[in-house]
Structure formats: C-alpha cells, structure tokens
C-alpha cells in the first residue's frame, strides 16, 4: 500500500476519473461536452470564413434557391428548398429517436433502447445518402456556363429570363479536340480535367445562331436577381470567354463564384463526415446495447454520451441549413 491513498485508486471507476465529478457531470460526459465546444468552434470558423467570403463578394454571390432545385423522381421540376427541408426533418427526427433511446436507457429498458438506437442509425444513413445525392446533382450541374478571362461567370437565358442549357443551343463544330490522356501524351501534357462537352468556339457559334439567347452575369440587381445583359452587351461579354464550365469541382463551378462550391464541398462534406462517424459510433454502441454491456453496468450513460454527439451533429446542420440554403 502506498503512502498516500486516494479514493480513486481503490475503486473500479478509476478510468472514469474516480468519484471526483467537477461540474456535476461524470468524466466522460464532461469531456464529451468539451469536445463539442471545440468542434462547435471549428464549425464556427468554417461558417465564419464562408460569411467572410460572401461579404467580400456580396454583389455576385450565387442564389442558393437557383442552385439546389432538385428533388428525387421529379425531373425538370424546379423545387428549391424542398429536398434540404426533407433532409433537415430526417435529421431532426433521428435526433428525437436518439433522445428517446437515452430516455429509455434511464429506465433501463434494453429492448426499447436498442429499437430507438436502430432507428437513429437508419435516419443517419438516410441523411448521408441524401447528402450524397445532393452532391451528385451539384457536381453534375444542369445548365453549364462560360468563364471569362477575367474569371467571372456567364450564364445563358432566353427572352423571358429562363435559364438555357448549353446543350440547347451550342453547335458541334468539326474540329474536335480529344482529351489528352497519359496513353496519348507525355505526363506533363495530360489534361487536368476531362474536357467539357463543348468548346468555347462551339458555344460562341451556337450563341450567334440563336439571336433570342441572352447572357446573365453574376452581378445581383437591387431586386436580388442576376443581371441580364442586352444582346449587344452579351456578344461583347461572350467574346472574352475562356472556359466552358459544366457542373462543379474545386476549381470552377457553373453556379458562380468559385469559393461558393469550395465552401459547399468543404462545409457540407465536413458535416457529412460527422454524420458518418456518428453513425459508426452509434452502431458500436447499438451492439453494446444488444450484448447487454450497459445492462450489466446498470447504467446507459454511454448511450447518453453518443447521444450528445449525435445531437451536436443535428445542431450543426441547423446552422449549415440556415447559412447555406436560407440566407
């Protein structure tokens, strides 16, 4: 026996910090809270950076309800917001089943805990799947656009201001260039990305052939709509086109400001990663519940701790939803 005896040393709960419970919470729970604090600050940093960039380009930032307009099985129907709203409901509902699992854990009802945890996992998986679908649409794009030498983006509209896709007017010119791949060239000549469907010349030729098409710039009017140029101005702008942009990647995107897609990928990606890891942790705890680990312990506090993390993921989504889709 040592010279000093502490209560923590001769007690099963040593790993959990002994009987000292600062702030009235167990060691694990308190640490989960402080992990959440640091994670919340990380996300705040990201959203703050998004706000910074948006304020910088406040007059040219893309309009979210023009970008996210897809809904499953509804092709060609512009349904802004509905899909993200659905995703939000799924995540809130999985938060509810999680808190019900915690609640059942307080009453030591093993079966109920297991059922609610299972539902939470399903909800989380549906959410991650929905996000993957959202990303797919975002990356694929819908209309296509043209980037000028100055780095700004030109989109195409008809007389009524409705968006026109490149495929609707661009012509196919005979002189096609094939994408350079490693097998056809030396490594340094490889194309950084696959070639877009049309070349700039093809878009320009198609534009000439369709006098009813106009160009829409990124600039927002005071009615918060994008500026539509006259035909003469459109021609002048299109002459300075450099790239054809289809869909989105980290370098350029057809929706507008380059940073918009970067932040979209980074912030929703980081959040999706949290959801994914939350699902994994939930699955582990779910199996522990089934094995009766917490039944033996006579405490379902572990469910409570992963519940905290899961609710935090929901909490972050509430903010991402507002900042990306509403404001």
């Amino acid at each position: 026996m040592g010279a000093t005896v502490t209560t923590a040393n001769n007690d099963e709960k040593t790993w959990g910090g002994g009987h000292n419970e600062p702030l009235g919470a167990s060691y694990g729970k308190m640490m989960m809270w402080f992990f959440i604090v640091s994670d919340a600050l990380t996300f705040s940093g990201f959203l703050g950076a998004y706000g910074f960039s948006r304020f910088k380009f406040i007059e040219t930032w893309p309009l979210a309800d023009e970008v996210f307009t897809h809904f499953p099985f509804m092709h060609g129907v512009a349904a802004p917001m509905y899909y993200v709203a659905l995703m939000t409901f799924i995540l809130i509902f999985s938060s509810v089943t999680m808190v019900l699992a915690v609640d059942a854990g307080h009453q030591l009802k093993k079966t109920k805990v297991a059922i609610y945890m299972f539902l939470t996992i399903i909800g989380g998986l549906i959410f991650v799947g929905s996000q993957a679908w959202e990303w797919k649409n975002f990356i694929k794009g819908e209309y296509g656009a043209v980037e000028t030498v100055g780095g700004s983006l030109l989109q195409f509209v008809d007389k009524d201001g409705k968006r026109v896709a490149l495929a609707d007017f661009a012509v196919k010119l005979p002189e096609q260039r094939e994408a350079l791949t490693r097998s056809k060239s030396t490594w340094f000549m490889e194309d950084a990305q696959t070639l877009p469907t049309y070349t700039v010349a093809e878009v320009q030729a198609g534009f000439k052939a369709h006098p009813e098409i106009l160009i829409r710039t990124e600039k927002l009017t005071d009615k918060k709509k994008k500026t539509i140029l006259s035909r003469e101005e459109s021609e002048k702008h299109l002459a300075s086109a450099k790239y054809v942009v289809e869909g989105a990647n980290l370098i350029r995107n057809e929706y507008g400001n380059k940073l918009f897609a970067d932040f979209f990928f980074f912030i929703t990606g980081f959040h999706g990663f949290h959801v994914f890891s939350g699902v994994i942790i939930n699955i582990i705890i779910f199996f522990n519940v089934l094995l009766g680990t917490y039944e033996k312990r006579r405490s379902y506090e572990m469910v409570e701790k992963v519940g905290l993390y899961w609710h935090f993921v929901d909490l972050v989504w509430v903010f991402v939803f507002t900042v990306f889709y509403l404001v």
Partner: protein
Amino acid sequence: MSHEHVSNTKRIWFVFGLLSVVTTIEVILGIYKPASLEFTHFIGLNLLNWIFYILTIFKAYYIVWAFMHMEGEKSSLRWSVVSPVIFLVLYLLFILLTEGHYIYGVFKDSTIKWNF
C-alpha cells in the same frame, strides 16, 4: 447520473413538434421570400435574414437544452460550455464580417480586381 429517472417522452415529442413547425416556417419563408421582409433593412441585415437567424438560435436552444439535456446540468457546466462558444463566435463573426465588408469596398472602389 444523479438525474431523476422519470420519463419525459411528452416533452421530447413537444420539442420535436416545435422544431418541425419552426423548420416549416423557415422553408415557407425561404421559398416565398416576402418582398416586404426581404427589402427592409435593419442594422445591416434584411428582416428576412434576421428572422432566419433568430429562428435558428431558437432551434439551437431547444436542441441543446431539451435534447442534449443541458437544462438538467449544473449551471457551472452550462456556463463553461455555452459562454466560450457564444463569446468566441461573436468575436469571430464580428472580425471576419467586418473585414469581408472592407475588402468588398476595396474591390468596389479601387482598380484592384483579384478574384480569390
């Protein structure tokens, strides 16, 4: 751990209803964007965005207090978790948004054109 072990399922469903209603309101406002709200400005933001942010904070409060059961924790834990986040975030947003707005002015009023 020493929390009361009574079921509060009722409250959980109530909070779920509340969060759903608030989200629905947000979505409806986001789709229709009433012009009277969108083009009326109040301290640097339009009213619509003010509503969105207030509703977001409202939802966040209920998630943290009811779902994460912050209301059952000691006030020392509550303060040590919530206050650093609130004050650091306010500071961060203040400095970033002010600077972002400043750079917007630089781009607008000078000849510098650099898209980064």
